[in-house]
Symmetry: C2
Subunit: 401 residues, 2 copies
């Protein structure tokens, strides 16, 4: 790694700029870095020669020669990324421009504990590397998202409600045995927010990414940076109360939005409705499988089942009530909604939006846009890649400072 | 003003540093600005000579000679500040180290409209200047807080619910007729937040200032800067719903915290209780004055009146419910509570805190501190001073950039 120590602060800024601008032209890069053209050219020439940067995009098009663009040199390595959910895991190798080179996803229950889950993750990491004939030493940095609060400095989980056995566990130490590359861990929704920030080349300074699935959480971008709060728990909106007369949550309080409208609540409501004879479609499905999932409710809703529609609308409205409070407080320009519950059909987003626009102040919603996460299912993995590369570059800069 | 145009970016940084560090030593200043000692001394020497800076604090103490500290030169001028509330106005002249040189406060109803209210403010501004034998040309900058949302770039009010006649009115244009100095306008709670940020020398990056009075609003500090949101309405927490079965608010929705627990709600509840014979103390006060105020409820509560205690506790709990949602989302390190309702007795803050600690997640409240605004009643005026000086210095920097 001693090669990195030779980079100047300006050179590290160039690497960060090339990454965040998705392979810019020299002009775009020097503009964003506020370097003069001459200064930028001198720095870039050296970095091309030393193998930090490479040329890309120089090809003929109908409009004549395209401007040369710059990219991080592929020989710098790859990013190894994992996105751990409450019930699933995705592992991938990404190039430095965040293209997925190899990927593997499967179901897993985080409650199995860190020992079993991480041993499976390490096996999948070896697998995706092998699929591209890569070795551990080709890995420049590792990024991982987890479905719970993380102390960002130490990379440890802090009292994660969905994964109690992981409390104070250090994923970083676990992976250090197999990889020399630095390991960065963050909450899954923070990574989704970071991914969208990268997609947008940092051009939107204030927005939210809401993840709705088993749990409900929110990634917060403020002043152009992911905001983690004083203790890393910012965006923990699942336990915001939407009904003081609502049912008791496992957290001890009543009416938490996660307990009333998260994935398990939807499955539970559907099961009751099926058992009470309110929906032939859901009852049939329940009889066939012995259980109901939010996906079953979504399928029934899309097929026009009135009871399923009601369940989906109620969940959208309750999550919308929570979001309306957050929008009043935070006044974001955009809310991007992702996670498994987005697959339960268009009525979900419609109900959520209706509630937000009705319950928030006019000034907060005048220009507010609420839609699905553009990066969809890939947001978590891409965010892990952004985290890994960004923090590695910042870490190098810090060593020098 | 041409004298300002001669300042370099480094010199402007020195002025900002001296202001934000409350008159630092040379060592503290050069450390914060990351200037070498030699470079800092050279810049400071020139600025002392040209009358931008002055020496202060060089006096004998029992421990020997004190280190010399620096201040902005008093000859640069004064700051003219106004803090407009829904029912009151404070106007003051502040020195550049934010000492109040002259101050006048009185009751006024903002609903009289901008014509009448601003003519009174201009008269008070002349009065406070005259009290210190100052002229309009001595004013370096003007800052003003208003109880409604402001488009920060234009200085115009945007659909302010408590002051409808002020919609799109430009306070800046109005004051321009009398003063050459630049005019900066912001929401009153943003200014309270800015004031606490200055008091703390920017050492807390993420905190909230909650103002509870006729309305309920919140100033947000995020990543060390006041956060205004995408449209300037961040912190507009008064219309967050705390009870879906609650009463209808003038905004059209139900259960808004401001309608249930703001100053008018407390007065209304107390009046009903007095009329229903639930409190001899409140009934006596109502008979004497023909009306009840939150202060009356506070006095009765302090005197041990059980009904008054209940009203105060209910308001604290309802505001605490709203604050719990905001704390879950934002995870601040501190919440500073100010505004008129803080005068209704210690039960108010106690109930509010109890609710926040009970309803928010353990991780969000583990290190959370909830207390009164240390700057108290002066927060609004001091914030107007910080705004005026900070934006004026930034404005000069921009002209040069």
């Amino acid at each position: 790694m001693s090669r990195w120590a030779q980079l100047s602060t300006n050179e590290l800024s160039v690497l960060e700029g090339v990454f965040w601008l998705h392979g810019p032209s020299r002009e775009a890069l020097s503009q964003r870095l506020a370097f003069s053209r001459t200064h930028a050219n001198a720095v870039i020439a050296g970095m091309l020669e030393q193998g930090w940067l490479d040329r890309a995009g120089q090809r003929e098009s109908s409009g004549g020669r395209r401007a040369e663009t710059l990219c991080l040199h592929p020989a710098l390595g790859v990013l190894l990324c994992a996105d751990l959910g409450a019930t699933s895991i995705e592992v991938a190798v990404l190039s430095l421009d965040l293209q997925v080179l190899a990927r593997h996803g499967e179901a897993i229950d985080v409650r199995l504990g860190p020992g079993l889950v991480l041993s499976r993750i390490r096996a999948l990491m070896r697998e995706v590397l092998a699929a591209r004939k890569l070795k551990p030493r080709d890995v420049l940095a590792i990024g991982m998202g987890v479905p719970g609060p993380v102390d960002f400095a130490t990379g440890q989980l802090v009292e994660p409600p969905l994964m109690p056995q992981w409390d104070s566990f250090s994923i970083r130490d676990d992976l250090r045995a197999e990889y020399e590359a630095p390991v960065w861990v963050d909450n899954d929704v923070n990574l989704m927010a970071l991914a969208e920030l990268w997609r947008l080349k940092r051009e939107l300074p204030n927005f939210l990414v809401l993840k709705v699935g088993t749990g409900i959480g929110c990634g917060v971008v403020c002043h152009g940076e992911v905001y983690r709060g004083a203790n890393g728990s910012a965006g923990d909106v699942g336990h915001i109360c939407v009904d003081p007369a609502g049912p008791r949550c496992h957290c001890g309080n009543v009416g938490c939005v996660e307990t009333m409208a998260g994935g398990p609540a939807i499955a539970r409501e559907a099961t009751s409705a099926a058992q009470a004879g309110q929906s032939a479609m859901l009852a049939e499905r329940l009889a066939a499988n012995g259980m109901l999932t939010p996906e079953d409710v979504g399928n029934a809703s899309r097929a026009g089942d009135a009871t399923a529609n009601q369940i989906v609308q109620r969940a959208g409205t309750q999550i919308g009530q929570m979001l309306a409070s957050v929008v009043n407080f935070f006044n974001p320009s955009h809310v991007f909604v992702g996670g498994g519950l987005t697959r339960i059909g268009p009525l979900f987003l419609a109900s959520l939006r209706q509630c937000v626009y009705q319950r928030s102040l006019a000034l907060s919603t005048r220009h507010l846009e609420v839609g699905y996460t553009p990066l969809g299912d890939q947001a978590g993995l891409i965010g892990a890649g952004v985290l890994a590369l960004q923090e590695t570059l910042r870490g190098r800069a810090k060593v020098l400072a």
